[in-house]
């Protein structure tokens, strides 16, 4: 009977106890510390200021110490039998190395720098301290091994912050040879970040009661925090550009009927009801507000041209490789060549355009050279992804079609291509994402200027002319130097402060350009994703 009830207790975990709550709070505390450290790293939280009425560094130190003490206490409680857990005999080698690394850093830095004993002693001391941490993790039972070294590391870091040994004004001047210094602004967030990760790991293991379940919890928390930080970094990056770019973008915005410029849409002259000078003007002497319209239009045409060039070629090549060519030496060579082409640095493509295309297209930097260069850059990715997509179309479809007496080309057109389209579109999305922001090739092939007058806005559709001599159609717009957003941004930055006389606040102008570039690239993404969604829905059952 006693055995049975014990088994029951193990099978069905009892409701939350106080000890579980302690471990749970510790996990939550690590998450809070993690977000605080990320915020501090991006200066969203000031280290010299205060938070919740306490100086920030003191608060961080206090939280770290509390977390460390809680983790150690939990481990000790478990070892002494006050807390019911299910630990393994050892925390394992991975945990051992995990604990050794930060202790090597701490031991080494303290010996060589704080105690000024020199590099050699520092290395030895670091190894010794790391070795002790390793032994303390691996040798005792898991509940002690996975809490004691990490918990004491946290408590130590926390105490260093609390006691002000490392405060907001702390600086570590590195050797003159490195000409750099590690400041508190960098060290405190980074140390907190890693401590929070370790603390989260240790307390999650404790929360799971150690053993297999504890390790699962630990891994879960680590992976979750990692995923979260990726989202956070992306969000911070975008938010940063938006916050910096908005003032410049909204400079002189007017809403209301008739406030915008006149345009012709489908032959009808319309006065737009909104005016955003930054994206509707070029730069001119008598403009009230300056803008980057020529570069936006240039970027759109550039990407369209590259896609129109690369997609039919790439899809055709992929079709030949998957459906017609026998798999052998030749397809292998083509495959290696495409992969190599995809990894070729963009400046090399730019040089190729500069040396090969420009002399052939009117001997001057032009939109056409840019389109062709970027088309060549896009080509390998379109080939690779289209090939993957076509290979993943099941052979059963081809068999079924052949068994109905349908010819190979008709099978490809009606069955293989539709089934491969979402994959092809994915490839084009990825490729466009890369080439739309590419600066080096267009720097060499189509250039443009730092401040482009609105009159230089490229008008590809309106520039087609018929000529009496072959090739009977000409388009001068394609052969003119054209500006694109990435290049203009680069030119604005390298132009330096002298630029400010032209556009009022040059800094705002730059950030707004960056924001517009981001928005243009993201809109290409959005178009691509919508297209893929459309084709996928046609394939999936409803």
């Amino acid at each position: 009977m006693a055995d049975a009830s014990q088994t029951d207790a193990k099978l069905v975990e009892s409701e939350t106890t106080e000890t579980d709550a302690v471990a749970g709070v510790a996990v939550g505390l690590s998450a809070v510390l993690f977000s605080l450290s990320v915020a501090a790293m991006f200066e969203r939280v000031s280290l010299t200021g205060s938070l919740l009425g306490l100086p920030t560094v003191t608060l961080l130190g206090g939280l770290l110490t509390a977390l460390g003490v809680a983790v150690v206490a939990f481990g000790a409680g478990s070892r002494l039998g006050y807390v019911e857990t299910d630990p393994d005999p050892s925390a394992g080698l991975v945990a051992g190395f995990g604990a050794a690394v930060p202790w090597i850093v701490v031991g080494g830095s303290v010996a060589s720098q704080t105690l000024a004993l020199g590099t050699a002693v520092g290395v030895v001391a670091g190894m010794a301290v790391g070795g002790v941490a390793f032994a303390l993790t691996v040798l005792p039972r898991e509940d002690v091994g996975s809490t004691l070294p990490l918990g004491s590391l946290l408590a130590l870091t926390g105490l260093v912050f609390l006691t002000g040994v490392i405060g907001p004004a702390w600086v570590w001047e590195l050797d003159w040879a490195q000409q750099a210094a590690i400041t508190a602004e960098f060290l405190i967030p980074v140390a907190t970040l890693f401590s929070a990760l370790y603390g989260g790991w240790a307390s999650a293991k404790a929360y799971g009661g150690f053993g297999a379940r504890g390790r699962h919890m630990g891994a879960y928390v680590l992976v979750y925090l990692n995923a979260l930080s990726i989202v956070a970094f992306l969000f911070i990056l975008v938010a940063f550009v938006v916050v910096q770019g908005i003032p410049g973008l909204l400079n002189g915005v007017e809403l209301g009927l008739g406030s915008g410029p006149q345009t012709t849409i489908l032959g009808v002259s319309v006065t737009l009801p909104v005016s955003v000078p930054f994206v509707m003007n070029g730069v001119a002497l008598f403009n009230d507000f300056q803008g980057v319209l020529p570069a936006i239009v240039g970027t759109v045409w550039l990407v369209l041209g590259a896609v129109v060039l690369a997609v039919p070629l790439g899809v055709g090549a992929a079709l030949f490789l998957t459906e017609y060519a026998d798999r052998g030496r030749f397809t292998q060579v083509v495959e290696i060549a495409t992969n190599g082409l995809w990894s070729t640095p963009s400046i090399v493509f730019g040089l190729f355009g500069f040396a090969f295309l420009i002399p052939r297209f009117g001997n001057g930097k032009s939109l056409l050279s840019g389109m062709v260069t970027l088309g060549f850059m896009l080509l390998p990715l379109v080939v690779i992804t289209s090939r993957e997509a076509m290979l993943s179309v099941p052979d059963e479809y081809r068999d079924a079609s052949a068994a109905l007496g349908v010819s190979k080309w008709q099978t490809i057109r009606s069955v293989v291509l539709p089934a491969a389209l979402p994959g092809v579109v994915t490839g084009v999305i990825l490729g466009v994402g890369r080439i739309a922001g590419e600066t080096a090739p267009i720097l060499l092939t189509m250039a443009g200027g730092t401040f482009v007058p609105g009159s230089q806005t490229v008008d590809v559709l309106g520039s087609f002319q018929f000529t009496s001599a072959p090739p009977f159609v000409a388009n001068p717009a394609l052969l003119e130097a054209t500006s694109a957003l990435p290049y203009q941004l680069y030119a604005l930055i390298s132009a330096g402060v002298g630029a400010s006389s032209n556009v009022g606040n040059a800094d705002e102008f730059r950030w707004a350009t960056a924001l517009v570039l981001l928005v243009v690239v993201l809109s290409f993404y959005a178009i691509g994703i919508a297209t893929r969604y459309y084709f996928r829905r046609r394939l999936k059952h409803t």
């Binding site: 068994a403 109905l404 999936k540």
Partner: protein, 305 residues
């Protein structure tokens, strides 16, 4: 009669027997041509003579000769790797799609040789349709799946241009779709969702859709490669009933691993054994109840294979 006795004597005294042995030293039964001579009433639809198929160095089918009667069900049985699927795929030249395949011998459809220059594969495969082991509808709507073949052959025009020129065959198409689905016993289940994606159907429905798709190009012969092996018993029963009905109008050749199934649905049965040999071919009742070959008897009663 005397053959069978000889056969038994041979196995009773393996040491005294001069018949060839395999590398393992096991006695191999000598197959006899009489075992595959099957005299049937009715017309011959397909006549196969000395058919050899190699995949690279692998000799998959060895000198198979058999005649398949019209408007009946012929079952091909045998253990895995015995060449029965290869044989089936030779009948509509699907083996041509395997680049390493080499095919010798003769296959005549209604007396016309299909392995010769100038054979129109489109026409051949329209006349000899095929249903595969796993259901493989296209990722399109049910209607499009059925109309696919006729459309590609130019028998139906429903495209944008046809609609603009006001000569769209939409009505003919819908009639065709209904007729094929009825013939495949699927109409009642899907008539209200013809524009749903075919991948949303159950496995059994998908397989009947594939049969309907096969019927859409008006074949004379239907080849089926283990059509029910991926299906549950109820769906299998439906397919079997369907095959029974189809045999009134079409010549059905079916490969199956399921011996009961072969016994239930077929009029004649061909047994292939390991090595790509056709060992026995005859009336289904005779093959199952009173086979000439001992190896066939062992296989049918489950002693090997």
């Amino acid at each position: 009669m005397s053959e069978k006795t000889t056969q038994q004597t041979q196995t009773a005294q393996p040491d005294a027997d001069p018949s060839p042995t395999t590398t393992t030293g096991e006695t191999v039964e000598q197959t006899r041509d009489e075992w595959t001579d099957y005299e049937f009433r009715g017309e011959t639809k397909i006549a196969v003579e000395d058919l050899d198929v190699h995949y690279g160095d692998d000799h998959a089918l060895k000198g198979v000769s058999m005649e398949i009667p019209e408007k009946s069900v012929t079952a091909l049985i045998g253990p895995s790797g015995c060449g029965k699927s290869t044989y089936l795929r030779s009948l509509n030249r699907m083996n041509d799609r395997v680049s390493s395949a080499r095919i010798d011998g003769s296959v005549r459809l209604d007396g016309r040789e299909i392995y010769q220059d100038g054979v129109n594969l489109v026409e051949l495969r329209k006349r000899v349709g095929m249903v595969f082991q796993s259901p493989n509808p296209f990722p399109k709507t049910i209607r499009e799946n059925i109309a696919y073949g006729p459309k590609k052959h130019g028998d139906l025009e429903t495209g944008l241009l046809a609609r603009l020129l006001n000569r769209s065959d939409a009505d003919e198409r819908d009639e065709l779709v209904e007729r094929c689905l009825r013939d495949a016993a699927l109409w009642d289940e899907v008539s209200d969702r013809l524009d749903d994606n075919a991948l949303g159907l159950s496995g059994g429905q998908q397989q009947r859709l594939c049969i309907a798709r096969c019927l859409s190009v008006d074949p004379e012969v239907i080849l089926m490669d283990e059509p029910a092996s991926a299906l549950d018993p109820i769906a299998t029963a439906k397919i079997e009933d369907l095959i029974d009905d189809l045999a009134e109008e079409y010549t059905v050749v079916i490969v199956t691993h399921n011996m009961q199934q072969a016994a239930r649905i077929s009029d004649q049965t061909a047994v292939f054994l390991t090595g790509g040999e056709l060992v026995e071919y005859g009336d289904t009742d005779q093959v199952f109840e009173n086979p000439h070959s001992e190896r066939v008897e062992d296989y049918i009663t489950g002693k090997f294979g």
